[in-house]
């Protein structure tokens, strides 16, 4: 039995090393597998495709991970936001809906964005003030948003045309689409925020041990609430890009995205040697998911199989990091 503070014994090193770097190993293995299975995989155009496909997910995954970081991976009080995907969906739908009714992009998006922010604030309130468990509270919000989204979209695709949106979707800067740049920027900003700033230190402390953070004089409630708002902001940013990409909105988007967001969020812990959710990890797991979808499409694996694989990966990721965390406790 290894001691509590993780003194390494020679026989145990290899397993721990494996787990620590399992994220990177998995990433590499998958990349190699796809490169070998399809000649198109490693082409410049395809790689850009992967980046593009990962971008939307990546942006919201970073927001979701913010909640994971300060909410803690803890079994009982674990931070989570199940409504985030539907938040993205409804903001997109709202923007498209308003655009189709003749409002300008600025107005339409402005209203939708405000709505999204309100959702984030309600979530924050529910979790922090009403002390509803994040699981149940955001689950409820998820259902609520689902209902409202149905109302707006009436299960139909909404198509809009708008030059600004087209610009966003099509334009490239030195060969890389704007969407990807935005992804990089958001990931970079949040990374700096959570690992290099004072706020980040606080958020990590709150997630690791809220009692200790409270003792240190940190306003735990405020930190927690802010993460829900950050998540909403990422949803806002992403939704504009989605609206651009789809030239409108598509019903049922939230369902699909939920799985991906959860996966990217929980998998992020695998990329950290502490097995703690983190932004860089979210960045990498978003790419991982993008690569997964892209690769399997190239070798003609049905998306339903991919869905099943994603579900299994979530379970694996959670199980692995839970065991690691227990060692840390």
């Amino acid at each position: 039995m290894s001691s509590i503070t993780g003194v390494l014994r020679p026989s145990v090193i290899n397993i721990r090393w494996l787990v620590r770097y399992s994220g990177y190993i998995g990433f590499l293995v998958l990349a190699v597998y796809f490169s070998l299975s399809s000649p198109i995989f490693l082409t410049g155009e395809n790689l850009i495709n992967i980046l593009r496909q990962s971008s939307i997910l990546g942006i919201v995954a970073c927001g979701f991970t913010a909640i994971l970081i300060s909410g803690g991976n803890h079994v009982i009080r674990g931070g989570i936001d199940l409504s985030l995907a539907n938040n993205l969906a409804i903001t997109t739908t709202a923007t498209a809906f308003l655009l189709s009714k003749g409002y300008s992009l600025a107005t339409a998006f402005g209203i939708a964005a405000t709505g999204s922010l309100v959702i984030g604030l309600i979530n924050a309130f529910t979790v922090v003030r009403l002390k509803v468990s994040p699981l149940l509270g955001t689950l409820a919000m998820m259902y609520l948003l689902q209902g409202i989204e149905l109302l707006l979209s009436k299960t139909k695709v909404i198509n809009v045309t708008n030059p600004a949106l087209v610009f966003l979707a099509e334009e490239k800067l030195i060969g890389i689409p704007i969407t990807v740049w935005v992804f990089f920027a958001v990931a970079f900003l949040l990374h700096i925020l959570f690992s290099k700033s004072v706020y980040g230190n606080w958020a990590n402390a709150v997630g690791g041990n809220p009692q200790a953070a409270l003792n240190a004089g940190i306003n735990v409630d405020l930190v927690l609430a802010s993460t829900y708002v950050i998540a909403a902001v990422t949803a806002i940013v992403a939704s504009l890009l989605v609206t651009a990409r789809l030239s409108g909105s598509v019903p049922g988007m939230g369902d699909i995205m939920l799985l991906d967001i959860l996966l990217a969020g929980y998998m992020s812990a695998i990329f950290s040697h502490l097995s703690i959710p983190n932004i860089q990890g979210a960045f990498l797991s978003s790419l991982f998911v993008g690569m997964l979808v892209n690769g399997f499409t190239l070798i003609n694996v049905s998306t339903y199989w991919v869905y099943a694989i994603k579900g299994t990966l979530i379970l694996l990721a959670v199980s692995v990091t839970a065991t690691q965390q227990r060692r840390l406790d």
Binding site: T126, K131, V132, G147, Y304, G311, T312, S319
Partner: protein, 342 residues
């Protein structure tokens, strides 16, 4: 002698004894208000025909919610009831298509449910994943299995059908044609009542039920008292999935088909119903009688809104709002009102 017998019969009901709890009262008051509202809003509501209709309409939800009760009683929540429902339905239809009889279909559905329950149990006990996330994973995996099998989500129909099987979902216990409407009490109502009744008995009167509540409430105490925590958790999960798989089977009888991803619809409402139910329990435990009230609540709202012509979309908003209020209230009660012991 008579007194003790009566007490034995009603003791489990006594748990529903209303204490001075505002939230508990408000649930029943809300139910009453809603009934009154719809009775006034439309003449079609408070007729025997319609009320019977409501009962028939809620029989599937009753089954799912009953199953879910076991999972919630164990201290967690089972989100995979949606796929237990779907896969149970799928198993039944496929067995029937292969030419076997109704008894085989039932067996197939129950076995499917049990397998899902075992899988969940493995995730929770061996992989140490919290029940919520574990069953969420199962939900995702299960739905993808459905999509794979049906290559995209198309329903599987059953042309000719076993008469008994057809009766399960579509048969009527009692039909009466009246001027006001047609009173049609479906057999599925009886099925639901029986299952709910058995479930209630198990939860409130057996050693298993008692141990389950103990471990769901404070696992440490149950563990130290010699309650077989792992075993009971597994049983609860298996029961939950199996009952929901059975519900799926009945639904495939109603629809004479297996409709993929149908289960999701029931998941949300079942959660709401179970949580409404727990507010009615003296100790705040998930329980069958309370859940039945919750199911009734949902049934009345769905039926009533339909009758007054509210479209499907507004209904979904209403249901979303409803569950939000329910969960907020329940958490509030747990964290603020019942602070007596901390």
């Amino acid at each position: 002698m008579l007194k003790s017998a009566a007490k034995q019969l009603f003791y489990p009901m006594a748990s529903l004894r209303l204490g001075g709890n505002v939230v508990r009262y408000s649930t029943l008051v809300a139910l009453l208000l809603v009934t009154v509202f719809f009775s006034i809003a439309t003449a079609k509501f408070f007729t025997t025909a319609n009320l019977t209709n409501i009962l028939s309409q809620i029989s599937l939800l009753t089954l799912v919610a009953t199953g879910l009760c076991f999972a919630v009683a164990s201290g967690g929540i089972d989100l995979s009831v949606a796929v237990a429902f779907d896969l149970g339905s799928m198993a039944a239809i496929m067995i029937l298509k292969l030419g076997f009889g109704w008894y085989a279909a039932i067996a197939a559905a129950l076995v499917t449910g049990a397998l899902i329950g075992i899988f969940n149990s493995f995730l929770v006990l061996k992989a140490r994943i919290t029940m919520f996330l574990a069953t969420l994973g199962t939900l995702f995996i299960g739905e993808s299995i459905e999509k794979i099998v049906t290559t995209g989500g198309s329903s599987i129909y059953l042309p000719g059908m076993d008469e008994v099987f057809k009766f399960l979902g579509r048969g009527s216990l009692f039909v009466l044609q009246q001027t006001g409407g047609r009173i049609d009490l479906k057999f599925s109502v009886l099925l639901a009542i029986i299952v709910a009744g058995i479930g209630h008995f198990i939860l409130s009167r057996t050693t298993f039920g008692r141990g389950l509540y103990a471990l769901g409430s404070q696992q440490g105490v149950a563990l130290l008292s010699g309650v077989p925590v792992s075993r009971y958790t597994t049983y609860a999960l298996i029961l939950c999935s199996s009952i929901c798989a059975f519900a799926g089977l009945v639904s495939s009888s109603v629809l004479t088909a297996y409709v993929p991803l149908n289960g999701r619809y029931y998941l949300m409402d079942a959660i709401g119903a179970v949580f409404i139910g727990s507010t009615l329990h003296q100790k705040g435990f998930a329980n069958i009688p309370g859940t039945l009230v919750g199911v009734l609540f949902y049934g009345i709202i769905a039926n009533g809104l339909n009758l007054i012509g509210i479209n499907f979309y507004w209904q979904s908003v209403a249901r979303g709002l409803l569950i939000f209020v329910i969960l907020a209230l329940d958490s509030y009660r747990v964290n603020h009102v019942d602070r007596a012991h901390s």
